[in-house]
Amino acid sequence: MANLDDKKQLAGVIGYFEGEESLLHAMVQVRDAKYHYFDAFTPYPVHGMDAAQGLKRSPLPFVTFAAGLTGCSIGFLLQYWTSAVDWPINVGGKPLNSWPAFIPVIFECTILFAGLATVGAMFILNGLPNIRRKSFSPRLTQDRFAILIEAPIQSESEEKFKPFYEVEVSEFLKKAGAQDIKSVYTEGWF
């Protein structure tokens, strides 16, 4: 058994909570204790959790804006180049660069680029898809809540963060109100 345990590397300690209020209170304590890596797991987005966890606002709107501008320009340039440069055709006496007629397609290209880029960026930021990930507990997507405090990789541990000791972290989570505490080990997918 000892050999098996040696192979497994400690990844962190997870504490389970039954309600979102106790989770929020515990999260504030974890945040203030300045652990290096921690995260909450909830079946639905809990209101106020981002603040309790000290998360910054997601940078996605910038991606949307940039992609929207790109789509807008591509939409216009495509129509301008095909209608006025590559094969100029006089349609009903309209000017070759009849930009008011190009607005609908410009608009649709803006939305298409912005929407797809937003979702793509969200997937990248969230590390999706990664189907080798397993749930810590099947109830986490049903009606249970959890806080995971991760063990930092040795080379990364820095002065300003609270050091990670398995026993101490378990005690900490218990004091913070966790009803069930488990250690999590890496399985190559973490």
Partner: protein, 466 residues
Amino acid sequence: MATPSDVIPFHSEVYVTGDKTLKDVNQDVSNPLENFPTKIWWVCFSFALFAIAIWAFTVTAVVVTGQGVLGLNQPNGWGTDITNFVFWVGIGHAGTLISAILFLFRQKWRTAINRSAEAMTIFAVITALTFPLLHTGRPWYACFWLLPYPNQRHLWVNFRSPLLWDVFAVSTYFTISLVFWFVGLIPDLASVRDRSKNSIRKFIYTILSLGWRGSNKNWSHYEMAYMILAGLSAPLVLSVHTIVSFDFAVSVIPGWHTTIFPPYFVAGAIFSGFAMVVTLLVIMREVFHFKNYITLEHLEKMNKVILATGMIVGYAYSCEFFIAWYSGSPFERFAFINRAFGPYWWAYWIMASCNVLVPQIFWFRAARRSIPTMFVVSLFVNVGMWFERYVIVVTSLHRDFLPSSWSYYAPTWYDWGWTFGSFGLFFALFLLFVRFLPTIAMAEVKGVLAQQKSHGSSHQEVSVHG
């Protein structure tokens, strides 16, 4: 002395009845996909397959024999092809309205119905797309004509044509709606994955859920992406039916060439779409026992939207007549008098009575909350809105500028066949959806449920003080 009903604040309406816990939500919503389909499901699915068979037969005839089997003639070149296209695209709009616009307005009641309404959007757009593709005559060449790409002929599509705007609008609408729907599904697919005992089901939902674990860092980006998609979809849905109306309004045909078309079409689309949502939900909540999630409150709110948009549509009908008279254009005046009293008077009055008169019953609360009444009204509205598009397409075309070419357009059995068959296509896709995917947005309902509970407890607190 405050009575409990005085204390409950306005925003703490009850969205989920029956004292459901978070676990119950998973149990109730996942039930249809974890059990063998019921008899009712099989009966419905067989009907849908039967309609698809008719659709396939008609489409084969149209493709193999040609457009001649349809009732199209000179000058009626659009017929049921375009009628059905506009009808189905319109049906889809309610889904985006519910999922995006009501989300931005923080209408929490949408959580119970948004998933199925979005699914309806996607299936309606798929159904709609079959019509213009078949209308091209040779759909296997359609992609060469419709999309701009470098080709041997060195030709490009005509970007000044509203028909091409339509290609961009509808394909963007389909793509964004599909992505929006899928993003909303991810957490629920993970729920289904985590509770499945069958290994094949677990494998499939593991892939579909992309490895979602409900980490709050993920939720943070996820919620932002969802909100942005809602913000993008809201103007998108308005643009789509606006551009569909441009297919008509940008032309010079009397009865089509009117500036009221974009708002009139959008209101009509929401009107018909909500009617279709009511039709589907009344059946769904009955068959799958979702009465605690899709409550009478939800249905009543939708009926109010039907009443409001029905009146906008009614206003548009009368406004068109006023402008036809006020413009002083004899062509315009003829087109409208002919529309109401010409050879297609019957279609016009079916449209007007189904869309304007029938929904007026929703002024009465008892009617808004009666399941049989709303079901019948929703069917009438569906019929009325189909005829609205029929009236617009046919009445303006059959009397063109050259009286010697005037003729009557009568749909043939092939026209009715693919119209009927398109319902089969739509319902078959919807039935597969309710069989394999969670039909209620579980994660969102849980969020609402949690809020409902916390408001409930604060209400108790207040009553104690009172």
